[in-house]
Symmetry: C2
Subunit: 248 residues, 2 copies
DNA sequence: CGACGGCTTGAACTTTCTCAACTCACGTGG
DNA sequence: CCACGTGAGTTGAGAAAGTTCAAGCCGTCG
């Protein structure tokens, strides 16, 4: 595992691109200073493993840039993705030493790591961190439950459409900049990774993407670059009801 | 929705059967006194709906006795269970007003409800509650991820075996009493509820249970009463590796 | 140039679903 | 007390969806 210190491209926490969404979102300036002391950056190349299931994990971390996947693998090799971590998402569980899942870098990845012991101590001292972590964990639980509906009850076509929606939406929420067109994006996952996300084989993924293309729901340039001419049309293909589960 | 006050069978929080596992587990005596003021019991009969998805939810609650299920339903009626709540499990999300899932009583059910507003205020004031809630939420997230592997990658037979293991284990952790034999238990779910848990049809559930019975993995008296002659044998049928995922 | 990884497509096969008939236990009302 | 309806569960046969195995394409990298 390569662990080179990264060129981070910003000076300190106050400049950090995930400052307002990560575990540290609620922290005051002085709390950030404490965090600065126990944090360090680490970067991984696409495909690298960050942690192996069963390994000791001496840190917790936030994804700063890039995408990571949590996966579980059965003895015979069947694997299921159980988490897709985007910038600001949190990895690791305070109070636990051993990683329960494989964590792999899906794209080039930079993480902001905190040594576990000091982080745990800080959590006791500063409720802002624990508060934010609870909020984030509840959000992840909701996402996991949405995902369970997808895995248990959706057809292959609905699964693909749903994944495209999820990626498009998350892409949109990251690029708040004006120039980004929500309807055009790159798939950050291989067909195999998509299959592992959706509980399908990669062949089925490929076939269903082709089918959506033939039916004009999406357009493809190359294998990864997707254009969605009509968002509502894609939404209809997901099987979800129209409001998209806005529940607040 | 019937909401009768229940015969609760114990005097106060300190006698409560879930005292040491629920959200209130970490609370001191004086904190419990505060909770007593905002709590009330509610009971439901098997089959009753506790909350409808989309409804206003003015309380959060702990399951005291019985079992409840969280389910999501698609427009065309396909439904997926996304949570199975046993005694001490928590329902509701502080900071959210609208229920994202249907909550139904699978068996007769008693819940210890807290009015949401005061509970939220108390969470701010007493870190013990938030701490415990974070811990419980992280546990639920782990369970959800285990469940995702089941939904995405296991065969029907493995799904059934896994569900039987889960029920047997949870049953065991509740009945710590000496006389209970782990290998004998009642299914608290109908075939249909099992199907919704596992992402199968009820016919497939029925067939696979019959198959496990024919193969001698389980024995049945009636439809619900299960005996597991050889636990290891059942474990082998789940597809999980032998240690059962003990990750601490 | 050749090899390789990522992807697509086809054909046969398997698993699970769908639809339908039937059993069984239970409770109700004639 | 029995006939009946009902809800839960079982079983079968055929259909559909997805998987498996196999072949081949395309772009990139050494």
């Amino acid at each position: 595992m390569t662990l080179q210190d990264a060129k981070i491209g910003f000076k300190d926490c106050s400049d950090c691109p995930i400052r307002h969404r990560a575990v540290c979102a609620r922290c005051e300036t002085n709390e950030l200073e404490l965090l600065e002391k126990i944090k360090y950056y680490r970067s991984y190349e696409a495909g690298q493993t960050v942690v192996w299931s069963g390994d000791q994990m001496d840190f917790v971390a936030s994804v700063v840039t890039g995408i990571a996947a949590l996966t579980q693998t059965m003895e015979d090799g069947r694997t299921q993705m159980v988490g897709l971590l985007l910038p600001s998402d949190f990895v690791g569980r305070p109070g636990r030493n051993v990683a329960p899942y494989d964590v792999t870098a899906t794209t080039n990845l930079m993480m902001c790591c905190f040594r576990k012991k000091p982080f745990e101590e800080m959590m006791q001292a500063t409720p802002h961190i624990a508060q934010r972590l609870l909020e984030m964990t509840l959000d992840e639980l909701d996402a996991a439950r949405e995902w369970m509906l997808l895995l248990g009850r959706k057809t292959a076509r609905e699964k693909i459409a749903s994944l495209l929606m999820i990626i498009a939406r998350r892409e949109a929420s990251l690029n708040v900049s004006a120039d980004s067109d929500v309807r055009v994006f790159d798939l950050p996952l291989t067909r195999e990774a998509m299959a592992n996300y959706l509980g399908l084989t990669l062949e089925t993924v490929s076939r269903q993407i082709s089918a959506l293309r033939k039916d004009g729901v999406i357009m493809l340039e190359g294998k990864r670059h997707v254009t969605v001419p009509d968002f509502q049309r894609l939404q209809d293909e997901t099987g979800d009801d129209s409001d998209g589960g806005m529940l607040f």
